[in-house]
Point group: C2
Chain length 267, copies 2
């Protein structure tokens, strides 16, 4: 397979940076083709702004989605963004490696999403009718591809459990897994999360490295999270609310958007 591995950590010698290297090495050892986007090494520009749209008239009001669509359509996006879009189109699988900072991904990775997931490319595509509300949530440019988060967390696992004060880790990652990855069509694998990485010694790292390698050996067969496709009949259109009675007895919050009996949780 072709795998794109994205890293958002400023220190290659960090636990997170080391796990990134584990992924790259293991995937190559398995015979996969690998490309990488090491955002800090690339000095990735995080802020989306006027300079992203060189063709936008100096005095024109910047409307980010439409400027993004126009520049994507006329192939006038900046070179760094075009290269990332090409890598995403090339890949069968995309891994996002990042530390959980303030309960979500680092700014530099958020800015990669904002700048690379252009309108007309990753959103704002497909037919809009009374049966189909655009190609999104299960459809879209990345349909047929898989994606997985590899996340390191400083805190304890219990703090991110069902009753933990930080909120359940699957809920914290839902806006990324569902809103950023499933939205433009990826099948999303349960996230690979490692806790208390600051406390782990060399042996602890090796154990975690091996757990990740084992996961990477099954990238093509791991069951994706069973999110409900937007246009598959489960949602009213155009309100996009889940039709009554579809969710299980104990489902609430985000989990109503996962089909009963499907894979829901990270392990």
């Amino acid at each position: 397979m072709k795998v794109l591995v994205v890293l958002a950590h400023p220190e290659p010698r960090s636990f997170n940076g080391s796990l990134f290297q584990v992924s790259v090495n293991e995937l190559k050892a398995q015979g996969h083709q690998v490309k990488t986007s090491d955002l800090y090494s690339m000095k990735w520009k995080a802020e989306i702004d006027r300079t992203d749209f060189p063709d936008l008239a100096t005095d024109a009001r910047l409307r980010v989605p439409y400027a993004s669509r126009d520049s994507y359509t006329t192939k006038s996006l900046t070179e760094d963004v075009k290269i990332e879009q090409e890598k995403l189109l090339w890949a069968d699988v995309v891994l996002l490696h990042f530390p959980l900072w303030w309960y979500t991904m680092p700014a530099i990775l958020k800015g990669w999403v904002e700048r690379v997931f252009s309108m007309g490319f990753a959103y704002g595509v497909g037919e809009h009718s009374d049966k189909h509300y655009g190609d999104r949530y299960g459809e879209g440019v990345f349909a047929g591809k898989r994606a997985m988060l590899v996340v390191t967390v400083g805190g304890q696992k219990e703090h991110f459990s069902t009753r933990g004060i930080a909120g359940p880790i699957d809920d914290l990652l839902f806006p990324i897994n569902h809103g950023v990855l499933y939205y433009p069509g990826f099948q999303v694998l349960p996230s690979h999360v490692v806790y208390q990485t600051d406390r782990l010694d060399e042996a602890g790292f090796e154990k975690e490295a091996e757990a990740l390698r084992e996961k990477l050996r099954h990238l093509d067969s791991i069951e994706p999270i069973a999110y409900r496709p937007q246009n598959g009949g489960d949602y009213e259109i155009p309100s996009l609310t889940l039709k009554p009675g579809l969710e299980g007895k104990n489902a609430s919050g985000y989990s109503i958007h996962i089909r009963e009996g499907g894979v829901a949780k990270n392990e």
Copy 2:
């Protein structure tokens, strides 16, 4: 009162940028002292990296939290970060104005949090014992201050409702309200959210501007979201899991962290 108004939008003429101006003007008209952080105008650097810690030895491994704590302690953080920390200490109330991009705040604002909320300042503070797990979630440097999000959303309100495909807006904003603001001690007011801002005309804007002005007239009396303090007896220490039986019958997911009968929802 002293109010800090933060803006994370690249276009002053946008709906969001215009609402920011409404806030600034209205607060001044009410006689409050106002400072602003217009992140795009300030060319705010979003990525936290080695250059944030000028005293870090060139060959030292960058461990972000500890580098941040050391630089904060020795007052060697960069000038832009120090200025923002001073503004936060000065303010009685902080407003964060931003558009919802990919279901959370823009990268530039996330990077403001990462760089300004240093260890030793906004986290990693307070006594750790078997009764007290640091000053956080209701305690910390910003205790006694209030904060509120002012969020513009392109999509329809229904998509962000309890059964909406995007997930409930209060859940999407929980990592910011609870994890970024309540964590270092802010009392968090229910978020002010405006939907389908791309579709609103001049009259629609004026109606929304007036709704925001009305809210701003009551900044000091609006009931904060009733999050449970970490060290108030509701959580086990050190697992920080909510003790059994405290949540209401219908509470689940994030909502178990809000006290029964307290204010939970944005309006």
